[in-house]
């Protein structure tokens, strides 16, 4: 499905960005454009990032840029 309708970016394209190392919504936006227009899909991109990393991971850079950084800040 199209997660970002504004920039026409599919779920699988975003997953590819995350697999390639994007560790935050801003990095996903930079890499594939998703979330760069109206921003209404940013929550969905964030949950895709969270899902990819999984809970309980506290040593990979993705966790520091995502869930734990948000909890701290």
């Amino acid at each position: 499905m199209y997660v970002c309708i504004c920039r026409v970016v599919t779920q699988s394209r975003i997953r590819a960005s995350i697999d390639a190392g994007a560790s935050s919504v801003d990095e996903v936006t930079l890499e594939c454009g998703a979330g760069g227009d109206c921003g209404s899909c940013r929550d969905e991109i964030q949950s895709m990032l969270d899902e990819h990393c999984g809970a309980g991971c506290d040593h990979c850079p993705r966790a520091h840029g995502g869930a734990s950084a948000r909890a701290a800040g």
């Binding site: 499905m1 199209y2 309708i5 599919t10 209404s40 899909c41 969905e44």
Partner: protein, 158 residues
Amino acid sequence: MKGHKQVVDALNATLTAQLTAINQLFLAAKVHEHRGFLRLARAAYKQSIHVMRRAEPVIARVLLLEGLPNLQRIAKVGAAEGPVEQLSLDLTLQQELCARLEELARTALSLADHGTAELAEDQLSKEQVYLHWLEAQQRELAQLGHDLYLAAQIHDAP
């Protein structure tokens, strides 16, 4: 006539689900049409227009209860890459709309706003017809397989 805030909020939540449905189904109808699945296109188009008509009394009710109808808020529009995926996004959308109407009926009844409860129940029975149609499509898909099912969507028998 001043209404309860909870009822106005529930009416606006219903309106959000309706506005989302109007847009998602209108887009789906045009994409189905573009791809040549005319039966699916007509069903989505008709439902989009029906929901738009049903949003009207919801807006009127919010105004009657001295609230402000929220036409600004809209949930995520589900746009699929293919017709079969679109049907499952539409099913989720329709379940959400029915859930909002059930919630509206419950809230209104608990606060003795029978006028709103009647509106919600009347609309719910209509939305359940489309919900049933979408569920039937899932059953047909499972029975026929994707190819046969999609072949049956090319022509539209009015």
